[in-house]
Symmetry: C2
Subunit: 398 residues, 2 copies
């Protein structure tokens, strides 16, 4: 009889609730607010198709062959150039390599910096894909509370002082997933000071930072990092397309070099054809205009969702106005459970992600639930939020 003993690190890890929800059968009247997907309306597919045809015509020998682990050199240069000139990201200390999506930066950062049972400090709630990556390395997770200005820095400092073997601070400072909040400039300065004081690296996960719809731009942590404490995880998933799995990391060159050694034995290199395609797309010089269009679309969707929430949910839930990103975070009144709400919504063919999913302790009751506004159509937003309003008032009344 076959007996499978899984490794300790994987024993208790379950498939992410979100991915499971994505696999729910879809009916014509169902509405998903649970994804983290960009709108397919934003995919620059016509430019991509033209570039792909050119690559097959002239450069297929390179594009289809093995490449080096660091990534396609011209793309690395193009990313460095754009991130540096536009956002001040990257210094002489730093290097950039191409990764298989932003998710791989998280995997690589843990792999090269964190031993089993070492501590990682992160916002709680936070991105489930990062939390599960940390769990898959048997790291010890300590959650830091989040408010409208981002991670609570006093709590962070206390944790840095008292928790054993802290090796990494994980944060989504700009348009947080799931909370939608953005870390204030003051807190950005303080987190950098703390990283330096305690000799701990910061993994700045920023897949959405170019998608701002209101408020003023704030510098990334990486752009204020003069000594190499910040590992910046970037992605083309939300500004070009996620299915191509092209992301990048900008970090101290010694860390990037070790990440390269790790990546070599994980997937050798990222799909080379699409590395070349993204490079050519960046060199067309149209990406800034393209991102402007994405922002206009998503701002309209955010505002439409907020207006519908005002109409249907006022009084039975509270929410923030995110200045960017893809999500609105809502909270039920004291004593109510986001998970119970999401269960009731599922019976009405509406999917949302319950707040506990994003918590370091997933058994914790969370009043929160996350709504995605980038993927659903305007009609789905209006109809879905109306149903949430009904279900909410039934739940709150009951």
């Amino acid at each position: 009889m076959l007996k499978i003993n899984f490794s300790d690190r994987m024993g208790e890890l379950q498939s992410s609730t979100i991915r499971e929800i994505l696999k729910m059968p879809q009916t014509p009247d169902s509405v998903s607010f649970s994804a983290g997907n960009p709108s397919p309306l934003t995919f620059p597919h016509e430019d991509m198709a033209k570039i792909a045809a050119e690559i097959f015509q002239n450069d297929y020998v390179t594009a289809l062959q093995y490449g080096i682990t660091e990534g396609y050199e011209p793309l690395r240069a193009a990313i460095s150039q754009r991130m540096s000139s536009k956002y001040g990201i990257g210094s002489d200390l730093d290097d950039v390599i191409v990764t298989s999506g932003g998710q791989q930066v998280i995997d690589l950062a843990i792999k090269v910096l964190v031993n089993e049972n070492d501590t990682i400090l992160c916002e709680s709630p936070s991105f489930i894909g990062a939390l599960n990556a940390f769990r898959s390395y048997n790291a010890r997770l300590v959650g830091i509370p989040v408010d409208k200005d981002g991670m609570d820095i006093d709590s962070l400092e206390k944790a840095l002082r008292t928790e054993p073997n802290v090796r990494l601070i994980y944060t989504i400072p700009t348009f947080h997933n799931p909370c939608g909040c953005t870390m204030s400039l003051d807190r950005r300065k303080r987190i950098l000071e703390l990283a330096k004081k305690y000799g701990v690296f910061i993994l700045e996960d920023s897949p959405y930072f170019e998608l701002r719809y209101s408020g003023e731009d704030l510098p990334t942590l990486k752009s204020m990092d003069t000594e190499g404490y910040v590992i910046f995880a970037g992605s083309f998933s939300k500004v070009i397309a996620p299915g191509i799995r092209v992301g990048f990391v900008c970090a101290h060159r010694d860390i990037v070099s070790k990440m390269t050694v790790a990546k070599q034995v994980i997937d050798v290199h990222t799909n080379l054809f699409f590395q070349i395609l993204v490079d050519r797309y960046l060199r067309l010089g149209v990406i800034d205009g393209h991102i402007e269009k994405c922002r206009a679309l998503y701002m309209q969707k955010r505002d439409r969702m907020l207006a519908a929430m005002d109409r249907h949910m006022a009084g039975s839930a509270a929410w923030n106005v995110p200045d960017g990103g893809l999500f609105i975070w809502a909270e039920l009144p004291e004593g109510y459970d986001g998970l119970e709400l999401c269960r009731r919504l599922k019976d009405r063919n509406i999917s949302c992600v319950p707040g506990n999913t994003f918590c370091v302790d997933q058994k914790q009751v969370s009043r929160g639930f996350r709504l995605n506004f980038s993927l659903p159509s305007d009609e789905q937003i209006d109809r879905g939020i109306a149903v949430i309003g009904q279900v909410l008032s039934e739940y709150i009344r009951s």
Copy 2:
């Protein structure tokens, strides 16, 4: 002052010698026998270009969006169908998911089955990308000798009996990298019996098994596996193209399910565009004919290299005739060092990979060196092998 403490698992791991050699500057007269690359002449780029254009035309919304971690459903079905009907690979117990190249199957197998300090038994010499993957998990490696019939099964049994916490047997039974040998049918049966007897899984790494040029087909271990002890790592890198990074795993469904959870937090999913492209390519029904053409090309290259070796190296080295795959393994006489030969060759702009690179103990002196015949041109084979002959006789004479 920034101080970086890397994780214990990555502390000593260095970039693979082969990858570093690939980065050597190329001159017009240099010849590389060190790669593991397929010939670009085999890339079915015209079919691929047509399919890519169709996907951009009709299916870009799916191909550019997030997909599920398991992979594109039609491709999983197409792989299962082909592997099962043509090679008897996969039973009712098993499942198939798409991976980011065959390399990722190795990463996933360790991640879900092997704890730090657990033992992995593997051929020594063996594929450096696997050995370094094992090292990157702090696994304990025990090398098993290889002869012309593959892994020495008596040594394997002894190791299974005496080594602590053996969790995995890693083998390349068909057209071994680097040795070029193929495990005999008798040994195939015995290794399966041992896996069952000791309750240990076998990772069957088979990127080349469809590339046979002589001798008779042997069943894969997976096709003889009735109880789920074999994890089959497959790849499209050598029969379609490596730059696209599409591979697959066929294994017991519980293992595949846990691998899916692991993959979710490693790279979410494999590049979806090329998953769809490979699916469409498989459905064209031309792959068997395409592989026939690859085999004809590589057989001619193998034979050309063997003929050149007969002319220039007879008496100063010994080698096998591989029945398939991409490599010829040669050995110097007693008392000579493959590493020293490769150093001397480098001065003559010829690159080969020294045998010690592939050993579990890389500090061990190896008389072997690996020659790749798939990538160099006929002219490069003739010229390069002639230079090797000269350098060899200088080295042996000195």
